[in-house]
């Protein structure tokens, strides 16, 4: 009798153990990212926090090179049918692969969705559905040397005047030794797109049927950029390098570059200030850059998709988006994050965050058109041609518009 009891007890234990193991089966999800070595420990810490809450989920972080490499790999993986569970994606990468994505929005509460910063909702919404969620976002701001630019320019007119005033040809040899400002037309066409937005323009018309870059707003933006050209360093490299060398007084760049730009200021032996971009004829908006997170629906199990959505929602929690912003040099992506004590304390301790935060809440994102990548390149070329004087503003824009029109027809 005793042995029967023992056997029964043993069976129950085995059954319960089995139930525990199999009912709560571990789920492994893969997250493809392009975060460099400086950011990886912080991303890992976020993952660790998530795993502590969800011991039945495992996350494999896979570095996939720069953004260009990541895009190639995602495209190849979609063709081969083996994309990861999650990946960092730019808006224009998302449009062509929409049908293999698992929309995150429908799995989120209304409060969570309403909490995303306004400038980021549209850029993650496709056909009225929130497919992706913002991840590492930065905003274009004005960096300047406080010793040469005591009061940063607040309008386009002031920007032009200031650039003129601080440009210096020290030895009078006709070559500028210190530039008022700088542009990276081919590498960073966003500098022009910022002006375009502030002038009320856009690359395309509202329904994406026609190129609109060469309208009156586009021309105003390009003419303003060209008016700055005589006082501008035109380069394709990082602006932090000439900044460190004392060859540059102010420039518009992404907030994610703060660490490098500030380091350059230290090397150059001067203080660096940060301000909102000078206000344009229509608004003071600035471009939000950076990627979103997408969940794939292509050979993933429901459990994997659920786990991935859970992780994406976890990243949006105020404490996590604040942590990511503080450690990674990005901006929080939800409204509630800006109201947390942690972020307020951080901003109080880091004054450069005041203009960055204000600018982030007044930002705009890239358009979702699948050919945006090619259009961006066309804009970069037009911007460069106009800035170096190879084409007049209107010729450069007309040429760009024609090429964009061709891209629309593809």
């Amino acid at each position: 009798m005793k042995s029967w009891k023992f056997l029964t007890f043993g069976l129950i234990v085995v059954f319960l153990f089995g139930l525990f193991v199999f009912a709560d089966d571990a789920v492994t999800i893969t997250f493809w990212h392009a975060m460099s070595s400086g950011h990886q420990p912080h991303l890992q810490k976020l993952v660790d926090g998530f795993l502590a809450e969800n011991p039945n989920i495992a996350i494999e972080l896979v570095y996939q090179g720069g953004y260009g490499d990541l895009q190639q790999k995602i495209n190849a993986a979609v063709v081969a049918g083996n994309p990861p569970t999650l990946a960092q994606v730019y808006e224009n990468w998302t449009t062509p692969i929409l049908e293999v994505l698992y929309p995150i929005g429908p799995q989120m509460t209304d409060a969570e969705k309403a909490d995303i910063i306004d400038g980021l909702v549209g850029s993650n919404t496709y056909n009225g559905i929130l497919y992706t969620v913002p991840f590492n976002k930065s905003i274009m701001v004005l960096y300047y040397r406080t010793d040469l630019v005591p009061n940063p320019p607040t309008t386009w007119a002031e920007y032009l005047q200031m650039a003129k005033d601080v440009t210096l040809d020290e030895d009078g040899d006709g070559t500028i030794d210190r530039f008022g400002t700088a542009f990276r037309p081919s590498a960073n066409p966003e500098q022009f797109l910022n002006f375009l937005e502030e002038a009320g323009g856009s690359i395309l018309n509202d329904d994406w049927t026609e190129a609109a870059i060469n309208n009156a707003a586009g021309l105003a933006a390009m003419e303003f950029a060209v008016s700055l050209a005589p006082y501008s360093l035109i380069t394709s490299g990082y602006l932090s390098d000439p900044f460190a060398a004392g060859q540059l007084c102010m420039f518009i760049d992404t907030s994610a570059g703060y660490y490098y730009n500030n380091q350059s200021a230290g090397t150059g032996g001067f203080e660096m200030g940060v301000a909102r971009v000078p206000v344009g004829p229509v608004n003071q908006k600035s471009m939000i850059q950076g990627t979103n997170v997408a969940v794939f629906d292509m050979n993933q199990t429901q459990a994997q998709k659920d786990a991935a959505v859970k992780f994406a929602r976890f990243l949006l929690r105020p404490e996590n988006t604040v942590y990511w912003a503080e450690m990674g040099g990005y901006q929080p992506v939800t409204k509630s994050a800006y109201e947390t004590e942690e972020w307020e304390n951080f901003v109080a301790a880091h004054s450069y965050q005041v203009p960055m935060s204000a600018q982030m809440l007044d930002g705009f994102s890239q358009i979702l058109h699948p050919n945006y990548g090619d259009m961006r390149e066309v804009v970069g070329t037009a911007f460069e041609e106009a800035m170096v004087g190879e084409a007049t503003p209107i010729d450069a824009l007309d040429d760009a518009a024609a090429q964009i029109q061709d891209l629309l027809a593809e």
């Binding site: 490499d69 190849a76 993986a77 081969a80 990861p84 060398a245 992404t254």
Partner: protein
């Protein structure tokens, strides 16, 4: 007698001035070539402030060996180095075997459609690798080689460039040698192994060295065909130090110095053959 002495002195002087000019030019050329290496090594030992300083600081004030430790810890470089070595060595050996055999066939054997086949093969050199990346990825995935050594080794075991280079070299070996060998009862393979290969050492070394360097530096293929750190190589580790907003130059350079050391050692031991091979095949 005196006039002879003057003539000799003149010759000496001419010889000296010629050598002086030659060595000066060589020295300048050498300095220009070595400058990037020097910059790489010194930058790897600078502080981040010194990296950006203007005018540039050539010698760091305080040697920052910590950059090497930081760079090493930024990624699992132990795996990366092992994989780079393993893949570079296996693909080099594999390519040498296939290239020598194919080059011999194209250089010394007669068969139907030889020239057409060779032209088609050369034609494949015109296709940009990037264009083939997605189809290749799909193939590798369907073969279940994704994230395995097979994906990193097997597709690289043959190279049109290697075949072409060796074929050109093999063609310079007189056919009479082959005829004589055959009269003595030597098989084609024995002739290849005993006569052609030893005679072609410089060209073979060139192919080997170019392959080793190419494999050591391969980035995109490895990145696309693998997903775990255990399968990746040194160049993937180097990419980690750059982002779209900036680069940690001092750590990148420290990692680059570590990455380049094996290649330098290899070159030091094989430079004679390498230079001979390049010079004889007329490829620059």
């Amino acid at each position: 007698m005196a006039s002879r002495q003057i003539a000799l002195d003149k010759n000496n002087l001419r010889g000296f001035s010629y050598r002086f000019t030659l060595y000066t030019l060589l020295f300048v050329g050498c300095a220009i070539m070595l400058l990037p290496f020097f910059w790489m090594v010194t930058t790897s030992l600078k502080t981040s402030n010194e990296v950006m300083s203007f005018p540039p600081k050539w010698i760091p004030s305080n040697l920052q060996w910590i950059n090497y430790i930081k760079a090493w810890r930024a990624a699992p470089f132990g795996y990366y180095f092992f994989n780079s070595f393993f893949i570079a060595i296996t693909t080099t050996i594999g390519e040498l075997i296939t290239s020598v055999l194919a080059a011999y066939a194209f250089a010394k054997m007669r068969f139907f459609g030889k020239n057409v086949l060779f032209a088609i093969m050369l034609g494949t050199l015109m296709i940009p690798g990037e264009m083939l990346l997605v189809p290749n990825y799909v193939t590798i995935t369907h073969l279940h080689w994704y994230n395995h050594y097979q994906a990193l080794i097997i597709p690289w075991l043959a190279s049109v460039f290697g075949i072409f280079l060796l074929r050109q070299f093999f063609r310079s070996i007189p056919d009479e040698l082959l005829d004589a060998a055959r009269i003595d009862g030597c098989s084609r393979f024995r002739f290849l192994w005993r006569i052609v290969v030893p005679l072609s050492k410089p060209a073979i070394m060139t192919v080997a060295l170019l392959k080793f360097i190419g494999s050591w530096n391969a980035f995109l293929w490895v990145l696309i065909m693998t997903s775990s750190d255990k399968m990746r190589t040194v160049p993937v580790g180097l990419a980690l130090f750059s982002s779209d907003v900036g680069t940690i130059y001092e750590q990148l350079m420290a990692a680059a110095v570590m990455a380049i050391i094996p290649i330098l050692i290899l070159f030091f031991f094989t430079q004679k053959q390498f230079i001979q091979g390049i010079a004889r095949t007329g490829i620059k």
